[in-house]
Homo-oligomer: 210 residues x 2
Amino acid sequence: MEIAILLFDKITALDAIGPYEVLSRLPDAKVTFIAKEPGLHRTENRMLALHADQPLSDVAHPDILVLPGGFGTRALAEDEQLLDWIRVAHESSIWTTSVCTGSLLLGAAGLLNGLEATTHWMVTDALAAYGAKPVSRRIVQQGKIITCSGVASGIDMALTLAAKIAGPEWAQGIQLGIEYDPEPPFVGGSLRSAPASIVELVRAHAAELS
Amino acid sequence: MEIAILLFDKITALDAIGPYEVLSRLPDAKVTFIAKEPGLHRTENRMLALHADQPLSDVAHPDILVLPGGFGTRALAEDEQLLDWIRVAHESSIWTTSVCTGSLLLGAAGLLNGLEATTHWMVTDALAAYGAKPVSRRIVQQGKIITCSGVASGIDMALTLAAKIAGPEWAQGIQLGIEYDPEPPFVGGSLRSAPASIVELVRAHAAELS
């Protein structure tokens, strides 16, 4: 089972590493980190570099495609070479997935037209602009395309996908293996549940950064 | 606020990236990925390489120390140069933390003697061998030392720590920013809650790998 995870400059690391930590534990999993340019790719804050081992062309037909998000997706959404690669990979994939603003790349590739999809709560308008129908569920499946909401949701998405691929027992084993028994210290990890003052705080901080 | 996250060969990536994704969003956070040897360090399964930008000696006195886990901790627990660095860093740190088997490094450095601590559920005996008192809580604080259970628990630990450092509003902002509103597909992410058959499955698989 060939799993390709896209890396790029200004990625959000957890978008990629959450699904990696789950999907790499599937039977016969082979995860490859790919990028337009192999080598180091830094996160949005420049504090971490992840290494892409292979160029896109080396993994033209992954069984599972994972598109993480991050500020870097803005530039990639206009990169026809990348979008072409996504279209071709999607033609033969078993599952095509995205985390957070990774869904904007699916949108830009024309793959979400008329479909329900999700992304980080701050950019649902951008998703709609690609013809998708944004919904507020954490994980959204439409055929073989699965999109999920912001950053940390990739763990839930990948465990859900693991159960589809290898059965619920194996997926439960992965969940226990990575001790995913969340105890978030606060309610309010979603737009639905967060106090308005916290939403405003995050929006103001994001505006500063962009 | 200088935050040092240790990298090493055979690391579990999410142990490091969960806390990174949270702590890098603290006000004035400066996260540095460090290692005995700067450069690329591969995960246990060899599928991912993370980059250490600086050697241990460049960050002798971090405000926050994060020790991730992974099979690689077995070799590091006998590495006196690394253990010395941990002891010195701990002397001046504000917080000394570990995720998963990272706590075995704190134990090997002699910092957990007589203290309550936790680790991945499969290696609590090893923790006890260092004189620690293993407890089954997800996050265990003893003074300025915080240990947490396996892999994914680093996210909960880091959010809890973020609230201590920057206040609950900022921590809630981080939680909303990374959309950490977990929807694990199964109960059973901990030894307490998992069916015996799943525990056995994970133990058998781990025995194969080691």
